[in-house]
Point group: C2
Chain length 338, copies 2
């Protein structure tokens, strides 16, 4: 099959690789009808994570079930499915506690920007739609494989509540989905820290009530003013850098929680500040499967449209341009059509 | 008055210092009938915190109101009061949110191991008993000024719940109060990590169901076995060192929370582990006043007896021996009688 492969920092190619196959009775093979590029794909692309040259990349996709293993009984070839980037059996103690991202049989999509992807633990992981959905719905369904549940997880971890104030640090696709999550959960004030006009605009469309373009101390002072001098009830940290984490703790009110979902890179948590202010930290890798039924319903009944984060669609052959566009922040998030 | 003063690492004295006076209309002066030494007093005593030579030390006490400022209307001379180590107005936004330790008018007891102590924000901070209590109750009432509410806060922050499993890292007085808190809250398994026989014994008296003497990986493996292979539902970190924090995260189940109340010293939080396991951190300086009404009732009706943490009582003149006894772990916690 044709698949996106990473060979060295900045060296993204479309290569011919072996088709994935059923390796265990719990597997399924999905023909990818739409995949996309994640902010976290940029870490190895930029050389900030170790890579194995030539490996496939991409962990977000939706598609049509092509083949299932013997233990997969709820799905059959032809089903349209959302593929959570983190595969889980949905039966172990961690899954039952809602932390499917720590499943004892955890797996990952490894060829989401390709023609086919193998899903381990297909029975526990996949969620299907009734019939093949309208093309117009595909971007929002694709967003459910990672970016939207990840923003949602930040809001859950941060304890967003109806009538409260929420600050979202980060205006990438995850941060924007965090805005959508916080507004959907009923936060009265949703403050996004962003200084890029197109992202500010989308944040407002997703329910942001305030946009703060300033950063650091200045940004923190403005947020404090908006929150009546006390700080935010909930903070969603959606970047993963030391600077964004420090901003998150600076704007959090005493007793609140920073919900974090950005893979941490070079973060030193300000433990003394956390202690003095009683500001907690919660979150981590999103348990996508936990939120899928609820989020799928919100998408299907038109209450949320997270697919708006895709502002560039490219054929698989042009995936390298997709990486460049996201790396240079010319695109918020790129949808790839195999 | 006579007061405990710290002059250099290890140099604890009883000195004659000026009596505290009403400096603001919100102040009260309390004649200390019992004070005590806190594990956190050992940091400056050991030279691990900066000090001002000759300053008074001690932040835990109970006593009799001697004098009140003009704005203090609920207390009068002669009242027996518990003095939270962290003084608060109990009316600001942070107090109303239950984080009195971040009160905008935060104050601290600074001469708890002395004859008199000044209480700022007396109206919001103090809690009185009906009449002067029996001498037998005094240790447990004294424990309410810091150590018991601090252990309780760890349990609240860690989300201890009825029927769950709780691990307490640390067998100091705070850790032991954490055990008492977790068992009072109905945790089914309360596992304390301790290798000192007298502390193990007190932990069992406070409701510990399991004692793990091993540390590090070995201790973690035993806790994992006790918790059915999944890890603890709640972890109370009651020390504040890097090693104790790492142990806490190692035994926490995915999706759980480490509640921390030990003033952090040299702690580097394992943010990558926290992310991968979705284990949160919450807690900090205890909002003593928040818990006082509930804890006072538990003490008065005999349901908890946190005063058992005091295994040595000394007159003020011998306070230096009290510091030595705690520093050398010969005593769990030392009560000082002025």
């Amino acid at each position: 099959m044709r698949a996106t492969t990473l060979h060295a920092p900045g060296d993204i190619r479309v290569s011919e690789v072996p088709d994935p196959t059923i390796e265990a009775p719990t597997d399924a093979i999905v023909r990818v009808t739409a995949g996309c590029i994640c902010g976290s794909d940029l870490w190895p692309y930029r050389g900030e994570n170790d890579i194995t040259p030539g490996h496939t990349i991409g962990h977000e996709c939706v598609g049509i079930v092509e083949e299932v293993g013997a233990d997969v009984t709820s799905f059959r070839p032809g089903d349209f499915v959302v593929v959570p980037f983190d595969h889980c059996d949905n039966t172990c103690a961690h899954c039952r506690a809602g932390i499917q991202s720590a499943c004892v049989n955890l797996g990952m999509t490894t060829s989401g920007q390709a023609e086919y992807a193998r899903v381990t633990q297909a029975e526990g992981s996949l969620v299907k739609t009734d019939g093949v959905p309208d093309a117009a719905l595909v971007p929002s369904l694709l967003a459910l494989s990672d970016v939207m549940p990840t923003g949602w997880h930040a809001a859950v971890a941060a304890g967003v509540r109806r009538g409260g104030t929420a600050v979202v640090v980060g205006d990438g696709a995850v941060g924007l989905c965090g805005v959508l999550a916080a507004s959907t959960m009923g936060a009265e004030k949703v403050i996004v820290m962003s200084r890029h006009a197109p992202r500010q605009e989308l944040a407002r469309a997703f329910g942001a009530t305030h946009v703060v373009a300033e950063r650091g101390r200045e940004g923190g002072a403005i947020v404090k003013e908006i929150t009546g001098g006390v700080g935010a009830d909930s903070v969603l940290e959606c970047v993963g850098t030391d600077a964004s984490m420090k901003t998150a703790f600076a704007v959090a009110r005493p007793g609140s929680t920073v919900g974090f979902v950005g893979v941490p890179h070079g973060v030193e948590l300000p433990v003394r500040t956390m202690f003095a202010k009683n500001v907690g930290l919660a979150g981590g890798m999103a348990p996508v499967r936990r939120y899928l039924p609820e989020l799928l319903e919100l998408v299907l009944n038109g209450r949320i449209d997270p697919g708006k984060v895709f502002d560039l669609t490219l054929p698989l052959a042009e995936v390298a341009e997709g990486y460049r566009a996201m790396d240079e922040r010319r695109a918020i998030k790129v949808l790839i059509e195999p």
